[in-house]
């Protein structure tokens, strides 16, 4: 009894000491490369995270200026979430190198490549060369435009957050489950809206929409870009116009950061409609989060097909 009390006190003090660092930790600072990842991280992290994105949704995510102001944000980040598949290869590596943050270096405990569990399309088989343009050797990096991949990204982020804050694992898992449930409900809604238009053939500017097309039953027949990252050439545009006329294609999807001159010219020749379709959260004001992105895009495409009678 005489030495038991101090012993218990000591044990309690040690336990408190061990627990203190965990309890003293504030919100996790999460930096993402794109607004899509930021939106999903906010859903999964809730009040336990503060999230910021480097690229804006109306910006071409292949070409982001590696501004020193991003270094300041990365320096303080607990977690960096990247799209991966070399989408950010032209701008993220120098920022990470200069971040003075060992945690978020590639492979570090605070670095997450969100693509690792996702379903990736257009993974090249066989030899690839730059004669094919700026191809992504690890597959198409615009994979977030499938809500099923949204769930996989969310699960990866929840897993990473739980690693960083084991005490809050239950909260992250609950928020993940809630996100998944709402996304499933959304998926039903979006699939229903697109159901009448299965198999509609479309043309897109860049290869940003293969996951969206596959999920919602659209068939991408051609691209305004002759090759990834190569601007339109007259010959390619002519070939595309002929192909669109032959197949009766009435829709051209263009990412908000591309010039509309060539798509409009193609539309005039073919009677097709040009839709400026955001591939990312924040691409237009209405696409304010990951759910609203699909609300907006699905409504945009479904309305256009219905009105044009393309199907």
């Amino acid at each position: 009894m005489t030495f038991k009390t101090p012993f218990v006190a000591l044990a309690l003090a040690l336990a408190a000491l061990a627990a203190a660092p965990v309890r003293a930790q504030g919100t996790l600072k999460v930096m993402t490369t794109t607004e899509d990842l930021a939106s999903i991280a906010r859903e999964v992290g809730g009040a336990l995270v503060a999230v910021d994105s480097m690229a804006r949704g109306f910006q071409d995510p292949h070409y982001v200026e590696p501004k020193p102001s991003f270094i300041l944000k990365l320096m303080k980040a607990d977690l960096l979430v990247a799209v991966g598949r070399e989408l950010e290869i032209g701008w993220l590596p120098p920022l990470v190198t200069q971040s003075r943050n060992a945690k978020i270096q590639a492979g570090g405990p605070g670095y997450l490549d969100a693509s690792l569990q996702a379903q990736i399309l257009e993974v090249p088989t066989g030899a690839i060369t730059r004669a094919m343009g700026d191809v992504h050797p690890q597959g198409n990096p615009h994979y977030w435009l499938d809500p099923e991949n949204g769930k996989r990204i969310a699960a990866a982020i929840a897993g990473k957050l739980s690693e960083l804050r084991p005490n809050d694992r239950a909260t992250f898992q609950a928020q993940l489950a809630d996100f998944d449930a709402r996304l499933d409900a959304g998926l039903k809604r979006w699939a229903a809206a697109m159901a009448p238009y299965q198999g509609t053939k479309i043309v897109t500017y860049h290869r940003s929409f293969p996951n969206f097309a596959e999920r919602f039953g659209l068939e991408i027949v051609g691209y305004v870009e002759p090759r990834p990252g190569i601007p339109p050439t007259p010959q390619h545009t002519l070939d595309l116009i002929n192909e669109m006329k032959r197949q009766g294609i009435k829709l051209i999807l263009v990412e908000p950061y591309f010039d509309l001159k060539t798509p409009n010219a193609i539309a005039r020749e073919t009677g097709a409609q040009v839709l400026v379709m955001p591939p990312s959260v924040g691409g237009v004001e209405e696409a304010a989060d990951y759910f609203k992105l699909f609300d907006y895009d699905v409504a945009l495409v479904a309305d256009a097909i219905r009105k044009s009678g393309a199907k």
């Binding site: 982001v64 991966g84 290869i89 032209g90 990736i120 950061y257």
Partner: protein, 408 residues
């Protein structure tokens, strides 16, 4: 190679053991119905745990779990190739025509082939090698270890590197918006070779609520810039300091300001291989850059305006030479693959400050793709002591190999 069957068997055993312990603890004296329920419950738990464990095992083995993507192609690279550094080669082909009596370049020349080898070393560092193959053989342009995991907001570099003096000195030839270098760089900052030397560098971010502020301190062996700095004793070190301030003015515009300092020994006092003069050179520099790039049209329109002013204090027989020079330039991107630029400047000569040269240049650059560019430049130089030169330069830059990062 595949431990799967053993691991899987061990997992099943472990799960059953855990489950049976739980079952015994829960049902010491239960009714048959309760027992049946408990067994059903157990079976469900067992199934759930098994599938969870199998999913984890699959992840560990690198098998895609149902619905997951094929592994990234990097993982498919056999054996040690995964750890090969990123390799790229950049060719710089230069053609020159017109009159230049002072410093004529050959009419056609593969000016440089730069090979880069870059990789992460370990959790604490990355390494970047740039080997330049030119007319004078192979030279290590840079070979740097960058320490990315230092405490206190420090970024360390060890190796041979370009000194943090101003802007142009830090850039590789293929990243410049011109086919040549500004006159002030040729006259005062070591020309094409620039200030690049073996040394140590530490850069610290100075956090403040207003802007990005970075202070860099560097110590070099002391031989750099083709006669700009030369050490004749081990303690004749070259010191370089740089302070950089950066601020976003808006989403599309920003301003970048820097002040630089360099001090080291020069070769002016060397007579018959003995450094009898022991002279020093000090350089002071100011650089300013404004950038504009509207985010939503970032791939079509941009502007970069830049100026550097350099003051040189060079000790030599007959007294210190105080020379100064500057350039100012603007580059406008007017289409996705087209840029046009102008540059003007003047500079005294480091060892003869009374002689002042001046230049004016205009460039047009076309990028067939991200990996090649063609540039035409017209340049007029008014030499202090020779007839003015009028030249047309044509440059082809082409890159193969790993996708490099874009300069900023």
């Amino acid at each position: 190679m595949r431990p799967a069957p053993i691991v899987r068997a061990a997992m099943v055993a472990a799960v059953m053991l855990a489950a049976s312990n739980a079952a015994f603890a829960q049902v010491p004296d239960a009714s048959p119905q309760e027992l049946r329920d408990a067994i059903d419950q157990l079976r469900r738990e067992l199934d759930a745990r098994l599938s969870a464990l199998e999913a984890r095992l699959a992840a560990v083995e690198g098998e895609p779990s149902p619905g997951a993507a094929p592994a990234p192609s990097a993982a498919a690279v056999p054996g040690a190739k995964v750890f090969n550094p990123d390799i790229a080669v950049i060719g710089n082909f230069l053609g020159a025509a017109g009159r230049n009596d002072v410093d004529p370049a050959p009419p056609l020349e593969l000016r440089e082939a730069e090979a880069s080898l870059q990789a992460i070393v370990d959790p604490y560092a990355r390494a970047d090698f740039f080997l330049a193959f030119g007319g004078e053989g192979v030279e290590i342009e840079e070979g740097v270890l960058t320490l990315t995991a230092l405490p206190a907001g420090l970024l360390g570099k060890v190796g041979r590197m370009k000194a943090a003096f101003g802007k142009v000195n830090t850039l590789h030839t293929h990243m410049l918006p011109w086919a040549d270098r500004p006159l002030v760089i040729d006259n005062l900052v070591g020309g094409e070779e620039g200030i690049a030397d073996a040394g140590l560098s530490v850069a610290k971010l100075l956090p403040n609520p207003w802007f990005f502020l970075e202070a860099t301190g560097q110590v070099f062996r002391g031989d750099a810039g083709d006669g700009l700095f030369a050490s004749s004793r081990r303690r004749d070190l070259l010191y370089v300091g740089h302070l950089r301030g950066y601020r976003d003015l808006s989403d599309s515009a920003n301003v970048d300001l820097g002040v630089s300092f360099a001090q080291g020994h020069n070769p002016a006092g060397v007579v018959d291989d003995a450094d009898v003069g022991r002279f020093e050179t000090r350089l002071y520099g100011i650089d300013a850059t404004v950038r504009w790039r509207p985010l939503a049209r970032a791939i079509y329109r941009s502007f970069l305006g830049r100026s550097e002013i350099v003051w040189s204090r060079r000790g030599q027989f007959g007294g210190e030479q105080r020379a100064a020079g500057f350039y100012v330039s603007g580059d406008y991107q007017f289409a996705r693959r087209w840029f046009a630029g102008v540059r003007a400047g003047r500079s005294a000569r480091a060892s003869d400050a009374a002689r002042r040269d001046q230049e004016a240049a205009g460039t047009v650059t076309f990028w067939p793709s991200e990996f090649s560019q063609v540039r035409g430049e017209y340049r007029r130089i008014g030499w202090a002591d020779a007839p003015a030169s009028h030249e047309v330069l044509v440059q082809f830059l082409f890159a193969i190999g790993a996708h490099g990062a874009h300069p900023f």
